[in-house]
Amino acid sequence: MDLYEHKILLVDDEPALRRMVGGFLTKAGFQNVFYAGSCLEAEAVCRREAPHLILLDVMLPDGDGFSLFDRLHRETEAPVIFLSARDEDESRLRGLGLGADDYITKPFLPEELILRVTAVLKRVYRIHEEKQEDKVIDLGDCLIDLGSGVVRRKHVTGGSADRETADNGSRQSDAAVKDVEVTLTAKEYAIIEKLSENRGRIVTIDALCDAVWREGNYGYENTLIVHIRRLREKLEEDPSHPRHLLTVRGLGYKLV
């Protein structure tokens, strides 16, 4: 099913807000938007239409969104995004221990809403617009193929359009013309995947450790440094003067 064909149920007691949010969703391309103004209505619409995603206001005239959420969850598997106007709810929603998929605090920007709705839909219904396997990161003088986990370093001499190598001309002429192909280890792959997702942005040591070792990441900082060094040997022309995998002192790394 196309992302935009999914049925979205919007539950909010304020008609003007319903109109506005509905407008945003339609404008973004969602064709099937349903509305409900109360718990009762929401349950009825839910049974009738079986929506794929529910946008649920926490405060409703005939009950609160949390208990409605509990009731709805007995009948439907549809993901729920809470809309909340109270900071108090935020602390409750923060952990999302309730089983809700996401939450948005009012006031919000239309983009934010659309972004979250699409993200939840993609995640829950596994819609991949772009196949991860085909993803190739082009760093200019080297290509990282995330599909096969292979790094291809091209040493093109002379008329390379690569800006970054241009100011390093002297060293480049020393290097022989060769195509190097190296395979990434699982850990290196995880690191480069995380960095490429946030390309150009700083990724903290902690976030990297999280990505590589999942939980309980404390104490891996030194190991991370070793992995980064090995990665540089594979990616960088001159590993001691990296130009792609940069260290941000005290914080983490970034890929440029």
């Binding site: 506005m20 106007a85 309730l98 919000f108 903290t204 941000v248 914080l251």
Partner: protein, 433 residues
């Protein structure tokens, strides 16, 4: 379903509320003492009245004239004044005079059932208890005994005795006993005052929370439509600019409302904290990285220096709240950057082990310090930040007030100041957990 763990902390008390509570406590305590005093005085006046007016043996004897030369046997040797006779009658009292042998010399209104002579045993008994059920008081007058009595069942009479040691003890302890009583009264008063105050605070917080809730929904619409207008290509450039201004100002309002709510909840110690064990070092890095990532112009430099030993320090904290405090500090530095083009911020975190309490491991503290190269705080602002008594609404320090409250909520201490080299600093001390 996972229930959220929340608890209320009590710190960062506002001085004004405290003063109010203090006066109220003292007031209630004084009121209780005063009421007791009044009750005591009233009871003394009301219940002892009868005894005051009742006549004692001495008075009666004085009003008894002795006629020395008794003419005939029928003539009385003792004559009571008319006035005294009347008073005795009014009080429903009776009197009799005995000689040293217990023989009756004279009597007035004496109940008929009573005897005319009394043995030593009788006299000994009546001095302490009753005479055949009549409460009596004796008065020794030369070698005569004046007995004044009342009707049966009018007076409860019991001799009281205390050992000397008990009286001594009472003299020593009595004062403290009194103090303990006063302390009790004050404690009770404090307890009720506190409850009363908490209810009042609660009401105020709920009011603010309600208002901020009610503003958010309309503001959503203002923001939503302003954004739509700003992106509407059919509108004139000017109109779109105006929409952009509306949008920007709505964002400012959004922040203000969030601040207002958070401040009120932190102020009255009502914010439910979701405490978890976190690593502050991690939180610092993530906040710093977020700022650097959003800084497109490269006008911001943040240096994070975390000691190797400080790296593994854990803190029980509400992480989003703590990150908010860090963010507020960085935002403040950016806002009041002043002097140079590039805002430089240095964040340091290190252990602080105080030598003399080294024995207690959990007394170990750590310091997080934010420094910048800006203009520094003005004296005025530093004074306001130090001043705990006022709930400062000055927009310049609202963000810093929140920092202060968040740090206090985590059992920490905070200090603001200016560096000698220029620029300001904020030093936060926490107990590690």
């Amino acid at each position: 379903m996972k229930r959220e763990k929340s608890h209320f902390y009590r710190s960062g008390k506002v001085a004004r509320t405290f003063q109010y509570g203090f006066f109220m406590t003292v007031g209630i305590a004084l009121l209780v003492v005063a009421l007791n005093l009044v009750f005591f005085i009233i009871s003394v006046v009301v219940f002892t009245k009868r005894d005051v007016s009742s006549l004692g043996g001495g008075e009666v004897r004085e009003a008894l004239a002795v006629v020395e030369d008794v003419g005939s046997a029928t003539e009385e040797k003792y004559v009571l004044t008319d006035e005294m006779a009347q008073r005795l009658a009014e009080n429903k009292q009776w009197a009799m005079l005995l000689d040293a042998e217990g023989r009756e010399l004279w009597s007035y209104r004496k109940p008929a059932e009573l005897a005319d002579t009394y043995s030593r045993v009788d006299i000994a008994r009546m001095t302490r208890w009753y005479l055949d059920g009549y409460p009596v008081w004796l008065r020794i007058w030369d070698d005569e005994i004046m007995v004044v009595g009342m009707e049966k069942d009018t007076v409860w009479k019991y001799p009281v005795e205390f050992s000397i040691s008990w009286m001594e003890y009472l003299k020593q302890v009595g004062f403290y006993y009194f103090l303990i009583n006063i302390a009790w009264i004050v404690l009770l008063a404090a307890f009720f005052t506190r409850r009363f105050m908490r209810n009042r605070e609660q009401a105020r917080i709920e009011w603010i929370a309600g208002i901020s809730h009610d503003i958010r929904t309309p503001l959503s619409m203002v923001m939503g439509y302003a954004d739509t207008l700003e992106q509407n290509g059919e509108l004139s450039e000017e109109a779109r600019q105006q929409a952009a201004v509306i949008l920007h100002q709505s964002m400012v309002m959004k922040e203000l409302i969030a601040d207002l709510n958070l401040t009120s909840q932190l102020e009255y110690s009502m914010q439910p904290l979701r405490m978890e064990k976190i690593r502050p070092a991690q939180a610092l890095r993530s906040v710093a990285a977020a700022f650097l990532n959003d800084d497109a112009d490269g006008n911001l430099e943040i240096e994070v220096e975390i000691d190797a030993q400080a790296e593994q320090i854990m803190l029980r904290a509400d992480e989003p709240l703590l990150q908010r405090a860090f963010r507020n500090l960085i935002l403040n530095s950016i806002k009041h950057g002043g002097q140079s083009e590039v805002v430089e911020i240095r964040i340091k975190m290190q252990e602080e082990r105080r030598r003399f309490i080294k024995l207690f491991r959990n007394c170990d503290r750590f310091v997080i310090c934010f420094e910048d190269n800006g203009a520094g705080f003005s004296e005025e602002i530093l004074r306001r930040l130090r001043d705990n008594k006022k709930n400062d609404a000055n927009p310049k320090i609202r963000g810093l007030e929140i920092v202060k409250k968040i740090v206090l909520a985590h059992g920490g201490k905070v200090r603001f100041g200016n560096r000698e080299e220029g620029g300001s600093f904020c030093e936060m001390r926490f107990f590690r957990s």
